[in-house]
Each structure stands twice: as structure tokens, then as C-alpha cells.
């Protein structure tokens, strides 16, 4: 009986994958006309009315964002399975500070991150002798330049804003890492972390088949989508209300260029929204449509992903409050600078 349980039958991989891809493409190309038809024909709402436009925004965005998330998160998860942090660490060990910092920030784009993995990651880097500044470049870029944010920005605003966001995030991570490295904060790392240095062995690479990798990516995506869908629905709902009802001059007067405090205000608003990029991007999309300038928008997005209170609390296990404060301050200043810079550059 036991041996039967071990050898489970698997659906042929090729069939499952091509079926999923085909279904995704059909859904992607039919969802816009379908939601339009549903809003204005089936529900009979009036084009151009506040309520009609809000409902149309909601019905267009929910399937669009869900499709984007499912499709691209699966692909990104599959790709980043080839860049586990253990491999990144091996690539970073023994590099110079400048090369190491730039490389660490870039690796942050492809490596997975959740606040529960911050501590093992930090210990692992320090233990391998990677400089503190390089470690922080990674810790800043990994959550900030994350795939969910990039995918949604790309899908809802186009590639331009997604790439600008990525470049800005990398810049903050690199400069933040260099600054923290320069400040010689090593004494604010808990002593037990230093005691571990050189104790860990290199772990053997575990061989994974394509079926394993695709299965892992799909499970991860399902889990993620299930977790963020409630936030997404609320976010798109609020976005729809803004889209249909908020007068343009109101958004422009609060978030606009004429208000010099707009950037710090949106950063403050973003702090409790940590890691809810999925729920916030639809709101941001509606705000941008109503005249919120790009710099303010970017600062808002970056603050949501990078300033995470739970992560700071968890990092307390390995670093002292002084270093957490420096880390937070560096990231915040970087985000504010990006916000003001883009508002000044792009008219």
C-alpha cells in the first residue's frame, strides 16, 4: 500500500503547460471587450456617467490584474528559482565593495524575499564575510524592486514607468548600501551573528526537475494570489471610485506639484500599507490618471514596498536599533529624493 502512495501519477507536463498558456491568452484578449459589454450592455449603465465609469474600471481591472499576476508571477518565480540566495551569496563573496554593492542590488530584483526570510538571509551574508553595505544593498532592493510591483506597473502603465521604477529602486539600493557601508555600523550588528562567521558550510545544490520547478512556481503563485486578492479587490474598488467620482483638481491640489509636501505625505500614508503593492497600484493608477505627478507616484509605490514595519521588527534579532534607524532613514531619504527629482524633471 505504501509503495503505491509514493508513485503518484502526474498529468503530462507539456499538456498541462500548453493548456494553461492557451487559456491565459484567450482570457487576456477577451477580457476588455467582455467587461465593456457587461457594463454597458448587460448592466445597461450609461457611458460617461460617474457610476458607469467606476463600474467599468472595476470590471476591467479585476480580471486584468489577476491575469497579469497569475501569468507573470508564475514565469518570474520559475526564473528566479535559478537564483537562490545561496548562489547569490557565493557570487558576492570576496568582491570589492563597489562591484559587490551594484551586484547585490541587481540580484535583489530576481531573488525572492519575504520578511520571514530577512534574518536567515542577513546571517548568511554576514557569515560568508560579505560587507555590511553590500548586504544592505540587497536588503533594500529585494523587497522594493519586487516582481509583483514591476508586473503591475508594466501591465497598467506600460514598460516606461516599470523600467523607471526599477532604475530608481536600484539607485536607492546602491546608494543606501554604499552609505551604510561608509558609516562603519558593524558594531551595531548583534555579537552572536559575528560569532557565526565562517561556521556555515556551503550547501550542495539540490537538483530539481522541470516538473518540480513548474510545480513550485505554480503553488507559489496560487498561494500569493489567494493571499493578495482581498487587498486587490479593495484597492481596485477604491481606484474605481476615484476614477469615476474624484474631481481632477482635488487630486492635483493634494498630490500635485503645487503642494511641496506631497511627496513626504504620500510616503507617510504608504508606511502602514507595506507589501500591499497589489492593492495599492490600482489606486495609484487612478490617481495618476487624475493628475498626480510621476515623482509623487513613484515615491508612494517605493515606500509601500520598501518601508515595512514587520521587517524592521524582525531585523531587530540581528541588528541593534541604531542600525535599524540608519537603515530606515537611508531608505526614506532615498525615496523622498526620487520623488522630488522626478517631479522636478518631468513636467
Amino acid at each position: 500500500m505504501t509503495s503505491i502512495a509514493i508513485s503518484r501519477p502526474r498529468a503530462p507536463l507539456r499538456v498541462a503547460v500548453s493548456g494553461a498558456v492557451a487559456a491565459w491568452l484567450v482570457a487576456w484578449f477577451t477580457e476588455a471587450p467582455l467587461s465593456d459589454w457587461l457594463t454597458f450592455e448587460v448592466l445597461g449603465l450609461e457611458r460617461g456617467s460617474h457610476f458607469g465609469e467606476a463600474v467599468a474600471f472595476f470590471l476591467l481591472d479585476v480580471p486584468k490584474v489577476l491575469l497579469l499576476l497569475v501569468g507573470i508571477v508564475t514565469v518570474v518565480t520559475l526564473i528566479r528559482g535559478f537564483f537562490p540566495p545561496e548562489r547569490v551569496r557565493a557570487a558576492l563573496a570576496g568582491r570589492g565593495v563597489m562591484v559587490g554593492t551594484v551586484a547585490a542590488a541587481s540580484f535583489g530584483i530576481v531573488t525572492p524575499f519575504c520578511s520571514c526570510s530577512a534574518v536567515p538571509l542577513f546571517i548568511g551574508f554576514v557569515e560568508a564575510g560579505i560587507p555590511l553595505g553590500v548586504t544592505f544593498a540587497f536588503l533594500i532592493s529585494s523587497p522594493m524592486v519586487n516582481e509583483v510591483a514591476l508586473v503591475l506597473l508594466w501591465g497598467l502603465f506600460g514598460p516606461g514607468i516599470a523600467l523607471v521604477y526599477m532604475a530608481a529602486g536600484l539607485t536607492v539600493a546602491i546608494i543606501g548600501g554604499l552609505v551604510i557601508g561608509r558609516l562603519r555600523m558593524e558594531r551595531y550588528v548583534e555579537d552572536y551573528v559575528w560569532a557565526l562567521q565562517g561556521k556555515g558550510g556551503a550547501v550542495a545544490e539540490v537538483h530539481l526537475t522541470w516538473a518540480d520547478r513548474i510545480g513550485d512556481a505554480w503553488r507559489y503563485t496560487k498561494d500569493l494570489v489567494r493571499r493578495i486578492t482581498p487587498y486587490l479587490l479593495v484597492g481596485i474598488g477604491i481606484g474605481a471610485l476615484i476614477h469615476g467620482y474624484a474631481p481632477t483638481d482635488l487630486v492635483a491640489s493634494i498630490g500635485g506639484r503645487s503642494n511641496p509636501l506631497a511627496v513626504p505625505i504620500v510616503v507617510l500614508i504608504a508606511i502602514p500599507l507595506y507589501s500591499n503593492a497589489a492593492g495599492t497600484i490600482p489606486i495609484v493608477q487612478a490617481l495618476l490618471g487624475k493628475g498626480m505627478p510621476l515623482g509623487t507616484t513613484l515615491a508612494f509605490m517605493m515606500a509601500i514596498t520598501a518601508i515595512s514595519l514587520p521587517e524592521f521588527i524582525i531585523l531587530r534579532r540581528v541588528i541593534r536599533p541604531q542600525l535599524i534607524a540608519v537603515f530606515t532613514a537611508t531608505v526614506t531619504i532615498g525615496i523622498l529624493a526620487i520623488g522630488y527629482l522626478f517631479n522636478a524633471l518631468i513636467v
Partner: protein, 79 residues
């Protein structure tokens, strides 16, 4: 008697992996002792950074992912 260690600070993924490991032991018909390693220093000493990790008889067999109970059962019967 197999010794299974689940490495991880105790997040949802670690609990899922632990459940899979226990199920795997039953599936493979192996007597196994499942322990959780939650201390960060100890986790680091195995050389892994991405949790959860799975160790069978002192050897790291998986990290940064949640292998299915079926896969773990295979490893248990191979080891």
C-alpha cells in the same frame, strides 16, 4: 529510525513542510523522528539561507521550497 529536521523560524511554510514530512514518514512506512530547528544560528550552520530547509539524517535534501509528501517519502526510502 530516520532523523528528520525541519529548518525554519516557524513561518507558515515551515509548518507546511513539517506536516508534509510527517505524512511522508507514514507514506514510506519509515519510523522517523521529526524535529524543528528554529534557531537562526543553527539554521545558518547548515549553510542554507532560504527557509524552509529539510534535513534527513544530517544531510540537507531541500531548501527554499516545500517538497511534497510524496517526494519526501521517496527520499526517505532512498536514504
Amino acid at each position: 529510525m530516520k532523523k528528520i529536521e525541519v529548518l525554519g523560524p516557524g513561518c507558515a511554510n515551515c509548518k507546511r513542510l513539517e506536516a508534509n514530512a510527517r505524512e511522508a514518514a507514514i507514506m514510506a512506512g519509515v519510523e522517523a523522528e521529526v524535529t524543528k530547528v528554529t534557531d537562526y544560528g543553527q539554521i545558518a550552520s547548515y549553510g542554507i539561507m532560504s527557509t524552509p530547509g529539510l534535513v534527513i539524517d544530517g544531510k540537507v535534501v531541500s531548501y527554499g521550497r516545500i517538497p511534497s509528501a510524496g517526494d519526501i517519502a521517496l527520499w526517505l526510502s532512498e536514504a
